[in-house]
Amino acid sequence: MMIDRRLLQNVDWSLLAGATVLAGLSATTLACLHPGRAGSAVALRQVAWFGIGLVALAVVASIDYQKLVRVAPILYVLAVLAVASVFVVGRSVSGARRWIGVGPFSVQPSELFKLAFILTVVWFLTSRWAQPVTSGTVAWLFPLAALPAGLIVKQPDLGTALLIFPVLIVLLVGAGIGARLLSAMGAVALAAAPVAWLALKDYQRERILVYLDPFRDPLGSAYNVIQAKIAIGSGQLLGKGVAGATQSRLAFLPERHTDFIFAVFAEMWGFVGCLVLLAAYALVLLRGFDIAASAREPVGRLVALGATTLIASQVLVNVGMVTGLLPVVGIPLPLMSYGGSSMVVSLMALGLLLSVRMRQFQ
């Protein structure tokens, strides 16, 4: 692949540095969770995923994002088909069918779908960029988001499905939606909620109530939240170190490799450690927003905005959930949580950012 040398001059190295720091913290945390070889095996696998992700990042960055946006509808259809295929050929892990087997790997199509979704919304919004965003635009976009969201909810993976909406709304804002239309959308959503509520069955309502108020199900998420809070709080200012992190190492914490890894980190490294971690995220995100703000044209701006928002909303929802600010929904912490699909897709999102940055000064 021919890459213009001028492009390489414009690689955003601080963005890549931030991502590398985060992946390094992830591998150390995973290694510390288990003593001895088991820990290093998990950490090595995570590092390997980071390597694979970097390759994917380079590939995405080398392609002109304009071309990607042009073929976005095709990517969208393929991604939705992949999500739907989970129900036919999917692998079931603890009751959820989210994975399909590709060779020796399990791939989570809903993760890949997020990127296709961003590109498609950008394609749609920029194709009528000259006109202001109207309620008609929103009406067209709604089924585009609702259909895959419904499929993903069915897997069931409520967290990933809900992520679609902040990304959609931020892209609309970036595309110049008026304040009045935005508040009208909010009003419609509020008005639709009771109708949807009545259409649900008793036990489905119950599940939503448990999401909103984990203490309704004292044997489930409420316990996890309390244990996570104890882990984070007991880290205090400077943390308990690796050996002292009893909450994490004695397995009081649920899902400690994946969704609750922030609590493990917080117990080990305390408030100061958390500041470092959050600063790394802030660095990555601010670089992303900077790329969006300084983009020359709307397609690049919206692609960068969408990719940054995808990472940002996952970080905020995950950390908010683990620290007890938000209800429990299963969302991984980008670049930190153990898992290949999430790692690779997060790095691909960063690849989109780089692609926009590199072509900014052409």
Binding site: A130, Y203, Q227, S234, L305, L316
Partner: protein, 606 residues
């Protein structure tokens, strides 16, 4: 792109501002998280450190009691009593599989239960789960003491107090109420139940399971180093299941079960004014409470393979020939169509010839001269052989269908059989099988291919009593939740009408009264002062068998009182012999206890 609207530089500025606003919003959210971390780690850190130092929070489930089923007057049909259950809390079990299995081995030897079963139960669930796996129900106090004694060596093994079904008698209304048992593998696959959940498996327990099951609560407790609870951190009360008000009358149900004792068969008591089922008995019954606690395989197989089929609900799942009870249908069809009149007479000498065939009466030597009414009262077969041929097979079948035979009653229980009414017209359409006149002859006394269920007979007799209304048998009046009031109700449903002239109804009812009160075959059901009307039936199971061989099924279908009937009582005794000798006295006992006060008053006043 439309550069005419805005100059490019301005447009970029507007877009930039939006991006900056979004970035600012995200950073504010970061600050909120930092604030929360400051609160958790710095301000409250000491307290949480304390909590993690002695992190001995345990989660204990509080099992929700299952809803209670009441009879129509509010008397409980089934209740709950506390029982001890051995449960495993997966997350508290030892992570080391060998040490975990050693602990399970100790439990197995303490309680004399299967070690493999325990290991299997522990292996089947995620080790992160906090939901209890209920491995053994119905522990004795002695068992509980043993487990408590070894508590320190048995992390994750607990004894729960769980409300369990208690039945007034072991077999009381077994088929109607149904039994409750742990969710089986198929039910677990549906994803609605958790392992060890108690689920209604038959009868009303199954039909209304969604309402009857409550929601388990739980509590988080702090325990000390010895595992003794110190304080409760958080508690969620369990929500008991909904209360179900059935149409049953507990007193009548008990009387019916007592009356049928010693027979295999079925009893239905129905209110002909509403279709309410007041009692429903199928015998032999199974011991409902046997299934509630963990039942061993051998005992279960013994029930399933019992040749008497105790699990079968004979009221709706067994089909029998109706015998002479069916003569009411023939009489109704003939009178309404004009092919029979009350003045028709015949001489019965005990035999009827049709071609080369000879059909016999049940009474050797015959009944002599009979008219339609005498034929019903004496249950004379010879009269009805001739009458049936005159009315015609297809007309009889049509009326039988109108009376609801050959179709589901729609009762809210699973597995209802439809019965069978053979149709000459349909059969004539085929070349191979043709309808013989002999089949009409057999049909007119309720033999041959005619098959009915006791519930269909109850609906039919109710229609005779109430002038033609076919009610859907009603079992449940309403379901009530404690705070929310009525959440489900059945207002009753009519699923058919039989249109007969009032004169025909009057004639039929009067004749049925005579069956009991004027020396007919149902005389054994007579209670002086109570105008009982009824019809006997003897369903032959082997052609031309003799009733006293004990092979025939005995029917008695009754309603009372004659004017404004209040109850219909259907009795079927399998292999009981003659309806008049076996089934009628059973019906009498039931009617006697239903109208106990009335009967007593009559006896006192003379």
């Amino acid at each position: 792109m439309n550069p005419r609207r805005l100059p490019p530089s301005d447009r970029r500025d507007a877009g930039q501002k939006r991006v900056v606003a979004i970035a600012a919003a995200v950073m504010v959210a970061f600050l909120v998280i930092v604030g929360q971390l400051w609160y958790l780690q710095v301000l409250e850190g000491g307290r949480f450190l304390d909590a993690s130092d002695k992190n001995r929070t345990r989660v204990r489930p509080i099992a929700a009691p299952r809803g209670i089923l009441f009879d129509r007057h509010g008397a409980p049909l089934v209740d709950n009593r506390p029982a001890f259950t051995l449960s495993l809390i997966p997350r508290e079990l030892d992570r080391d599989v060998e040490r975990r299995n050693a602990a399970l081995g100790r439990v197995a030897s303490l309680l004399q239960i299967s070690y493999e079963e325990l290991v299997e139960a522990a292996d089947k669930v995620s080790p992160d789960s906090l939901s209890p796996v209920r491995v053994r129900r119905g522990l004795t106090l002695e068992d509980v003491a043993k487990v408590e004694e070894w508590k320190l060596e048995l992390p994750g093994v607990i004894v729960e107090v769980e409300p369990q079904r208690a039945y007034p008698t072991r077999r009381f209304a077994a088929h109607l109420l149904g039994y409750v048992r742990e969710a089986n593998d198929d039910q677990l696959k549906q994803g609605r139940y958790r392992r060890g959940d108690m689920v209604g498996q038959s009868g009303l327990e199954r039909l209304l399971d969604e309402y009857l099951r409550g929601r388990d609560g739980g509590e988080q407790i702090e325990v000390d180093a010895l595992g003794r609870p110190i304080r409760t951190i958080k508690q969620t009360e369990p929500q008991p299941g909904a209360q179900v008000y059935t149409t049953l009358d507990r007193r009548i149900q008990e009387a019916a079960e007592r009356a049928l004792e010693g027979h295999a068969g079925a009893v239905v008591v129905m209110d002909p004014r509403s279709g309410d089922v007041l009692a429903m008995v199928s015998a032999p019954a199974f011991e409902v409470d046997r299934f509630t606690s963990t039942i061993d395989r051998a005992a279960w197989l013994k029930v399933v393979q019992d040749p008497a089929h105790p699990l079968l609900n004979r009221v709706i799942q067994s089909q029998y020939a109706p015998g002479s009870v069916f003569k009411i249908v023939v009489a109704a069809a003939g009178l309404q169509e004009g092919t029979l009149t009350p003045m028709d007479r015949t001489h019965c000498n005990g035999e009827f010839h049709l071609g080369a065939w000879t059909f016999k009466d049940w009474k050797e030597g015959g009944h002599g001269g009979v008219d339609l009414r005498r034929a019903i009262v004496q249950s004379c077969n010879i009269f009805f052989y001739q009458a049936g041929l005159r009315v015609g097979g297809s007309t009889i079948a049509r009326y039988a269908n109108q009376f609801g035979f050959g179709a589901a009653t729609g009762v809210d229980l699973p597995g209802e059989k439809l019965g069978l009414i053979p149709h000459p017209k349909i059969r004539q359409g085929k070349k191979a099988a043709t309808w013989h006149a002999g089949e009409t002859v057999n049909m007119s006394i309720g033999q041959g291919q005619v098959l009915v269920t006791p519930m269909q007979v109850a609906r039919f007799m109710s229609a005779v009593a109430n002038g033609g209304v076919l009610w859907k048998p009603r079992l449940v009046q309403r379901v009530e939740r404690l705070e929310r009031g009525v959440v489900w109700s059945d207002p009753g449903k009519v699923n058919g009408h039989v249109e007969l002239s009032p004169l025909v109804w009057a004639f039929l009812r009067q004749s049925l009264w005579s069956v009991v009160n004027e020396g007919g075959t149902g005389a054994a059901a007579r209670i002086p002062g109570l105008d009982i009307a009824g019809k006997t039936g003897t369903a032959q199971t082997i052609a031309n068998s003799r009733a006293d061989k004990g092979q025939d099924h005995a029917w008695f279908a009754a309603f009372a009182p004659l004017n404004d009937p209040e109850v219909v009582v259907i009795v079927l005794a399998e292999g009981g012999g003659k309806g008049g000798q076996v089934a009628a006295p059973i019906a009498r006992k039931i009617l006697q206890s239903i109208f106990m006060e009335k009967v007593a008053a009559i006896e006192i006043l003379g």
